[in-house]
């Protein structure tokens, strides 16, 4: 008996500092703990770090405005090193050891696909702001919600403009992983609908660094349009090797990766005329977007600001709004609120179907023009005309 009392004392003493800290004035209860793992190192590091900044800024601003349901937000963030298997372990740990109240999604479709079974198992709703592969949301899962436009429509703008300009043929190459594959599938169908002929499609394995083989074949197929569906480092490598091998389509779009400011920093003038898809740009007239961009630049001077940043922030906004409406941290209640939600965040429109699949958000197409991303599609959001056709490399 005395032993038990001793243990009880020990527990009390070790926890006392926590209890005292938590009783700081203004906050009735402890913070709401939100867990996530992000690819802070490895292949996906650049965009995932932006997403992290989005999460951090959201928490900071929500807390400054008095928190949600009277409580502060606090993030528990881990680094999954761009490895889906690591992310699975980390989410398991967030739920079982860190006992977080709620979860937010990791970066990228493959990682989200992997961890979606964890939050499903524990019936914890998870807004997944940076997952764009449709299949994740169409497997009968009940607790995962999409923020972005799906992978399938990433290159819709390219197909639209190509058709409008009277182009005939398309070639598509992609990294052989979930998201880039989905983009190619979607683009194939969009191209068919618009009467464009797809003359070449090929995937390459993740980790590939020499694209001479695949680009030699693209060159032989001589397409009017080349769409590359990939991630950042490949986007840079492919663009470079296109110049080396003198591959000259009239339009060349690369997604994801072409949208990061770093893409232009690394490639300089060679990035001119390249098209890219974006979920979000700071110039877009969404409510709060301009203020967000300003606050972000102030909070993280010199850091990349991309749609990943805004997605992280927007996803966090949706979760906060759902908590507010539910008035509690109950998983089922929050799930019901997210499903019923129809709103605009700084990231654009939000509305999901019964599967949590995004219906309202709109994708935009930009072109690198004089070092800036000029939005060229859709027409109602376009800020200028396209520079068409893309001149051959030796004529630039």
């Amino acid at each position: 008996m005395s032993r038990r009392i001793r243990i009880a004392w020990l527990v009390l003493v070790t926890m006392a500092p926590g209890i005292v800290l938590r009783a700081s004035p203004g906050w009735a209860q402890g913070p709401i703990k939100i867990g996530a793992s992000l690819s802070l190192t490895g292949t996906y590091a650049a965009p995932a770090q932006n997403q992290q900044r989005g999460y951090q800024l959201c928490a900071k601003q929500v807390n400054e405005a008095g928190g949600v349901v009277g409580r502060k937000l606090e993030f528990v963030l881990y680094d999954d090193q761009s490895q889906p298997a690591t992310a699975v372990r980390l989410y398991e740990r967030l739920v079982t050891q860190d006992k977080v109240d709620l979860l937010l999604g990791p970066y990228s479709s493959p990682v989200t696909e992997a961890v979606a079974s964890i939050n499903e198992k524990y019936k914890m709703p998870m807004v997944a702001p940076l997952a764009a592969a449709t299949s994740i949301f169409k497997k009968g899962r009940r607790y995962i919600f999409m923020i972005q436009s799906p992978a399938e429509v990433y290159l819709e703008g390219v197909v639209e403009i190509a058709a409008r300009k009277g182009l005939k043929t398309v070639a598509l190459i992609n990294e052989d992983t979930l998201f880039p594959k989905a983009t190619v599938q979607g683009t194939l169908e969009l191209a068919k609908k618009k009467g464009l002929q797809v003359v070449f499609v090929e995937a390459y394995p993740k980790g590939h660094t020499d694209f001479s083989g695949i680009l030699t074949k693209v060159k032989a197929a001589n397409p009017d349009v080349l769409g590359a569906s990939t991630y950042f480092d490949d986007a840079v490598a492919i663009t470079r090797q296109m110049k080396e091998l003198n591959v000259n389509p009239k339009m060349y779009a690369v997604t994801v990766g072409g949208d990061l400011p770093k893409f232009y920093e690394l490639l300089g003038k060679n990035a001119e005329f390249v098209y890219g898809a974006s979920q979000w740009e700071p110039e877009l007239p969404y409510p709060g977007a301009a203020e967000f961009a300003e606050a972000y630049r102030k909070e993280f001077p010199g850091a990349d600001l991309s749609y990943h940043s805004a997605g992280g922030y927007g996803g966090c906004q949706i979760l906060v709004e759902a908590i507010r409406r539910a008035g509690s941290l109950d998983g089922e209640k929050i799930r019901a609120e997210i499903l019923a939600l129809e709103t605009n965040t700084i990231y654009g429109a939000f509305k999901v179907d019964a599967d949590g699949f995004q219906l309202a958000h709109k994708m935009v197409l930009f072109q690198w023009q004089d070092g800036k991303k000029a939005i060229v599609w859709p027409d109602e959001l376009a800020l200028g005309p396209v520079r068409f056709p893309t001149p051959p490399w030796n004529a630039r």
């Binding site: 995937a203 030699t216 470079r240 091998l245 690394l266």
Partner: protein, 292 residues
């Protein structure tokens, strides 16, 4: 939806394959040296390549130094690092069971990658230098790859000459053939080990400096090259130095040709199937035997 393959396309990928192959050969020669002399399987080899790439990046980025001149810094740096690693750690597993060296160098590799991550972050870096290509007829020779190939050939030739002609090179080969006899003949085997590891690391770093101009630099970039180097020395015959050169060229060609005739998706599969076949059918490598 495939394309008709023309002779020009074959020429193009053969050129690309040989350009890449020379680089593989140079990097793999380092690995072959270490294995030949010490029977150490050095999994950290690719990481030393990463060290070379970062050296080039920082000299280029901070001081605007020509990336090819930075070889003068990256190679001695890696040489020193290699000598240090050998002296402090690898020395203890020389000619020990292979698992020991595998575990040790694996640990070194993880530690080095994380140190790089800590200091330089995992942001992708790149050296924008010499982009574009020389076009001859209908075949494009990527400028950065042609120059890298030229340097790789020169450095490999120099290393080869050193092994064949100099006294110390002969000592290295003698140690690799039979350490006991070499020792009896007055070769300082400890010193041979030290400099061999240094030399091998310098070769890896040279590879790093050269690829820095072609691909994105990040702390984990070297791993691919570790695997490729293993492939090369198995193809060429472990411990067989001319074999490593042949193996490098062969791997470059196989990768590119399989990407052209089959699909790019399969090119790694083809390389590794080849590895298994060579191990099954010609375990001593394509050239056969240990012709050190």
């Amino acid at each position: 939806m495939s394309v008709v393959i023309t002779p020009e396309m074959v020429a193009q990928v053969v050129v690309s394959g040989l350009l890449a192959g020379a680089l593989y050969a140079m990097v793999a020669l380092g690995l072959a040296l270490i294995y030949g002399v010490m029977r150490v399987i050095n999994v950290a080899h690719g990481t030393l390549l990463t060290v070379g790439a970062y050296t080039t990046f920082w000299w280029f980025n901070l001081l605007g130094l020509n990336p090819y001149l930075s070889l003068l810094f990256s190679m001695p740096l890696a040489f020193g690092l290699g000598v240090g690693l050998q002296r402090l750690m690898v020395r203890r597993v020389v000619r020990a069971p292979e698992l020991s060296s595998l575990l040790l160098t694996f640990g070194i590799s993880i530690a080095l990658v994380n140190v790089l991550q800590l200091f330089f972050s995992s942001n992708l870096r790149s050296v924008e230098f010499l982009t574009g290509a020389f076009v001859v007829g209908r075949v494009a020779f990527s400028k950065s790859r042609v120059v890298a190939c030229a340097f790789a050939v020169a450095i490999t030739a120099l290393a080869y000459w050193f092994l064949q002609r100099t006294r110390f090179g002969k000592a290295i080969r003698a140690t690799s053939q039979n350490p006991e006899v070499a020792m009896v003949c007055g070769v300082n085997v400890e010193r041979v080990h030290l400099y061999t590891f240094g030399l091998a690391s310098a070769l890896a770093a040279a590879g790093g400096s050269l690829v820095a101009v072609m691909i994105a630099i990040q702390p984990e970039m070297g791993q691919v090259y570790t695997f490729k180097s293993f492939l090369v020395i198995v193809l060429g015959g472990a411990g067989n130095y001319p074999g490593a050169l042949l193996g490098g060229m062969f791997l470059g060609l196989v990768e590119q040709l399989s990407s052209l005739f089959l699909t790019t998706q399969l090119n790694e599969a083809v390389a590794y199937v080849l590895l298994v076949l060579v191990l099954l059918l010609r375990p001593t490598g394509l050239l056969g035997g240990r012709a050190t």
